[in-house]
């Protein structure tokens, strides 16, 4: 077990390191002049340009620049813009010369939005998605099951952003049946927070429920045909206990695996939802940074979400091997 965890940890760390190198290479080595790219082309003065070159030590060897960037993540560093020294604290992911703020600070202000979105989404897919899937598995082969499964196949084949956009345009703007998307901090007004997030939750949740229903149906169908389920039934346990206590427990394992990776993916990538429903989360930050060519911010988000994804991958793998010992042997 320990050997397995150590091996997975080593490979996870190697992937994180490679991600760091690749993103750094993309942003600092690929552009012919990173200072010009960071400075932008519309309102870049010579003074600002020199500031950036100076701060990032762009005249020094690339390896040293990389070492400084990496050191900044663990120990923090300082930047100087037009004479003012800016402190970039410990997890320093660089400095946005466009908005004169450390990237970490900008990310931190957006994270609550994305986390709120993903939290509500998780509740929906894990309750409705799994429930519908297990109901379908119990009624396998009936007309209800067939209709449900083919309708989920059709719905999940339509691109997500089309569904979200059409609902946003027609059901929140033209005919305001659902509240319009928006973000108010939970601490400010829980009611407004809930109302603004309700539509995005429903749209993202119900769309993804179709996939979760399919996963959990597949896994429940397999579990329900196992011998121990027959034993449980033979003992005279009620149908409800057999389905939800005996079968669901092991039937949920593969679903939870997918859920872990899905959540990690959405934390960095709920871009369409945030854009369509106007939520100022991480995805929207990337898009707005793109229009201003604010490369350090994009790099920061890419790095953070890659690390979240790799970490989640590792956690899911280890958790899986704890639950199912067969995984360790392969």
């Amino acid at each position: 077990m320990l050997y397995f965890v150590a091996r997975r940890l080593f490979s996870a760390l190697s992937v994180v390191l490679a991600t760091l190198v690749v993103t750094f290479a993309l942003f600092f080595i690929a552009p012919t002049d990173p200072a010009a790219a960071i400075c932008g082309e519309r309102n870049c003065t010579q003074e600002r340009y020199n500031d950036i070159r100076e701060n990032l030590h762009l005249d020094r060897p690339k390896v040293q620049q990389f070492a400084e960037y990496t050191a900044g993540i663990f120990a923090g560093r300082t930047f100087e813009t037009s004479g003012v020294v800016q402190d970039c604290k410990a997890p320093c992911l660089g400095f946005s010369f466009k908005s004169n703020r450390p990237v970490t600070e900008m990310l931190a202000s957006r994270i609550p939005v994305t986390v709120s979105l993903v939290a509500g989404y998780s509740v929906l897919v894990l309750t409705i998605g799994v429930f519908v899937g297990s109901m379908a598995a119990k009624r396998r082969g009936t007309t209800a099951d067939r209709v449900l499964m083919s309708s989920t196949l059709v719905l999940s084949s339509i691109p997500y952003y089309i569904v979200a956009l059409m609902i946003s345009l027609y059901l929140t703007i033209l005919y305001p049946i659902l509240p319009r998307g928006g973000y108010t901090p939970l601490s400010e007004s829980p009611g407004k927070w809930f109302a603004g997030l309700l539509t995005p939750w429903l749209v993202l949740g119900i769309y993804s429920c179709t996939q979760y229903a399919r996963y959990s149906r597949g896994s429940m169908v397999e579990t329900l045909s196992e011998d121990y389920i027959r034993t449980a039934r033979a003992k005279g346990l009620s149908d409800r206990v057999v389905t939800y206590k005996h079968a669901l427990r092991s039937g949920l394992i593969p679903v939870v695996t997918i859920f872990g990776l899905d959540i990690a993916g959405s934390l960095g990538g709920a871009i369409f939802t945030e854009r369509i429903f106007d939520l100022p989360g991480l995805g929207n930050l990337v898009l707005s940074s793109l229009t201003t060519y604010d490369l350090p911010v994009i790099m920061g988000v890419v790095l953070v979400s890659s690390v979240i994804l790799v970490t989640m991958n590792f956690v899911v793998d280890v958790a899986y091997s704890v639950i199912d010992p067969r995984v360790r042997l392969s």
């Binding site: 992937v15 993309l26 059709v154 339509i158 345009l169 854009r275 790099m299 994804l309």
Partner: protein, 335 residues
Amino acid sequence: MSIGSPDSTVGVEDHPASAEPVRSATVAHGKSPTRIAIDRLRKDKVAIVCVTVVVFFILVAALAPLLTKLEGSDISTFNADLVDEYGYPTIIANAQHWFGVEPKTGRDNFARWVYGARPSLAVAFVATLVGTIVGVVMGLLAGFLGGWVDRIISWVIDFVLSLPYLLFAIAMVPIVESLRGGSFNLSPSEQASTRFLVLIFVLSFFGWAGLARIIRGEVLSLREREFVLAAKAIGVPTHQVLFKELLPNLVAPIVISASLSLPAYVTAEAGLSFLGVGLIEPIPSWGQTIANATNWFKADPLYLWLPVLGITVLVLALALLGDAVRDAFDPKTRR
């Protein structure tokens, strides 16, 4: 569902593997797995409808210049006389503009719609082709050679699969543009063609890894089989073992993966264009039109619905077709 009709495997059972089959010139001998799958697809009504829809879109894309000539307009002519002072189109449809004109610019909707089918299909097909070739070669090499080649390729596969692909796709755009001298120094058509290549690169870069992993797994079990051993024993060179002996046995996973990645790439292309990081003017694309049309959807619903329906129907047909192909090739449903 019509899957698994018993008569489709009749030819296989008729001839035991050990006996020398008596072949007559007219009666078909036992069917190959691919043949069986194609026969099953032919009987699948959903698959036939989907193929028809996909062929329709391919024809629209291929015949776009002809269709616009037939209508009598083109994609780039501004018709300022057909929009009012606020930018709203003054006509809904006429003989010259079958689906009306765009708000603000007055360009022809029909022409932009038929031309919009082109980049979607081109990006999807090219990215699928590149991703499939790279995936198959990498998977074959990793599975067959083993050792350090396998370790390196497997690590790269894990690495690629653990990157957030949407974010990387977005991040690639400004980087490639600054590599080519910055977006402000490029002419619009240069910038648009750069975006086109970036899209294909990003999609195939993130698309090959999944297939490579599947192929590697398949090869790991195939390479222990007798026919591979026999080929090696009589001194067949490695590349021939890979491509003449192993590859024909990998048709099913390759076809399945390619048919499932087509709808995914059409979706991704239009999605990225919608976000503003995909295709840009002057190349007409559905995703871009949708992004513009959201500002006019109340006054001019047709402008929004044309590309929305285009993408939805095309992706739906491709996805259901992919599903049918998977069922047809899956040996589990063959019984």
